[in-house]
């Protein structure tokens, strides 16, 4: 839709998180692992707080029934997921630039950094879209969506940190960096492949 509020809110939340993390580690030389870990924590909370809105807003505004009547479930899922992927990629890219600038961290393997970030965003957006759909019809939907999404995404964060720390110079490609990148791609593919079917089963129940 036309609303840019999700994008702006997501970015603002992440930017404040990044600033707080950078401020907390003032004058400290951070290792690649710490930088990667903190960046992923910021990405996780930014995604879990802003991305489920796409479904929650439909239920809150009362437009979900209109969509249920006129659209195929797969079309709704892909529409929401692609919007969330776009929002997550834009927010994360801006966030990473900001964060790397604040921490003055070097990126010796930029392609791995970019790949981890992109595949991570696709996975995050796919999984959070589904969590939003699963929680959307509950009474305490906003809190519930974040509560079910965060634990589910922790393994993804673990894989993402693995790939990103290598790209930031901690660890070799052969000792887990490339495996993490493959893991992130696998997670993204699995989420997007099964997502429409899981979504179709909950959307009209």
């Amino acid at each position: 839709m036309r609303s840019m509020s999700g994008l702006v809110t997501g970015f603002l939340f992440s930017a404040v998180t990044v600033f707080a993390i950078s401020f907390a580690s003032l004058n400290t030389k951070l290792s690649g692992t710490v930088v990667a870990g903190m960046l992923w924590v910021a990405l996780l909370f930014s995604a879990a707080s802003s991305l489920p809105r796409t479904f929650l807003a439909e239920e809150e505004m009362g437009t979900a029934d209109l969509l249920r009547l006129v659209a195929r479930p797969h079309a709704v899922f892909w529409g929401k997921a692609l919007f969330n992927i776009f929002q997550c990629v834009v927010t994360s890219t801006l966030l990473s630039i900001l964060y790397l600038g604040f921490t003055s961290a070097a990126v010796p393997i930029p392609w791995l950094f970019g790949l981890s970030l992109f595949a991570g965003c696709v996975s995050l957006a796919g999984a959070v879209t589904l969590c939003g759909a699963i929680a959307a019809q509950a009474a305490n939907r906003a809190m519930l969506a974040a509560a079910i999404a965060v634990p589910l995404l922790l393994p993804l964060v673990a894989i993402g940190v693995g790939g990103m720390r290598t790209s930031l110079g901690d660890g070799a490609l052969s000792s887990g960096g490339s495996a993490s990148a493959i893991g992130l791609i696998g997670y993204a593919v699995a989420t997007l492949a099964t997502g429409p079917y899981i979504f179709a089963a909950v959307w009209k129940t």
Binding site: I134, L144, I148, S175, A190
Partner: protein, 258 residues
């Protein structure tokens, strides 16, 4: 007959308990005597995983009963069948969560005795804690829905969505090269042949007894759930004059408007 079987089971459980104190120590543990908690710890994650996979299968069956077509027009009613698969799935989930908690509790005791701290951020301990959080969210989700059909479908969807991350956390994450080297958790297992003889026999006996108990508890839970459905049907039929319900509405022709 049932009483005799229960008595035999209790006897065997007693034998297993005494035996777990009598088996010879394994020297590789720091406090081999206390490490016997392994005998009770080991079956828990195995049964947790088995129950989780069973719950996922039942969740798929719930989805098979929900038509995936855009509109739910179908030739047959499926609410009762869906409710029954949901009861089976939730029975597995509840039992699996008990085993997950037992795994964590026995693991934490082991950690204190062998590694000197209740919590040592061991990768296996940590990944299992995340698994506990994931399934705590499953139950939070169930509590959030009142309508049984929504409760069944939404929790089944989450259960399936959570399966892949859970299997990753349980089996792959602790074995990642960069993670494995940080782990204090013993990797020797019965399958690797490092735990053998009486120790292995004792742990297998406990596993079998736990499995029997699990089947019994599962049946009990499912029967209670089915009885609830029957009871609700009975009261529903009373409310609407028996199993051949009188319509709550009457269609009648009216004169056409002028």
């Amino acid at each position: 007959m049932k009483t005799i079987l229960k008595a035999i089971f209790a006897l065997l459980m007693g034998v297993a308990t005494v035996w777990s104190y009598k088996v010879p120590d394994i020297a590789q543990f720091q406090a081999p005597g206390f490490a016997r908690i392994f005998l009770w710890h080991f079956p828990c994650p195995m049964l947790f995983t088995f129950l989780l996979l069973s719950a996922s299968w039942f969740s798929i069956r719930i989805f098979q009963r929900i038509t995936l077509k855009p509109f739910a027009f179908g030739p047959e009613t499926n609410a009762e069948a869906k409710a029954k698969w949901d009861i089976r799935a939730v029975a597995c989930m509840e039992l699996s969560y008990i085993y997950a908690l037992l795994t964590m509790a026995t693991g934490v005791l082991f950690s204190e005795i062998q590694w000197g701290a209740w919590w040592s951020w061991d990768p296996r301990q940590t990944s299992f804690l995340i698994v506990l959080l994931i399934y705590a969210a499953y139950f939070a989700l169930r509590f959030a829905y009142v309508d049984p059909a929504k409760k069944a479908a939404h929790s089944a969807a989450y259960g399936l969505l959570a399966l892949l991350p859970t299997l990753f956390l349980e089996f792959k994450f602790p074995r990642l090269p960069q993670i494995e080297q940080l782990s204090l958790h013993p990797t020797d297992s019965i399958l690797a042949g490092k735990i053998k003889g009486e120790y292995a026999q004792c742990v297998i006996l406990i596993l079998v007894l736990f499995a029997i108990m699990t089947v019994y508890l599962y049946n009990l839970r499912v029967r209670a759930g089915f009885a609830e459905i029957e009871l609700e049907k009975y009261y529903g039929n009373l409310e609407t004059n028996g199993s051949d319900p009188t319509p709550t509405g009457v269609v009648r022709p009216v004169s056409l408007s002028e």
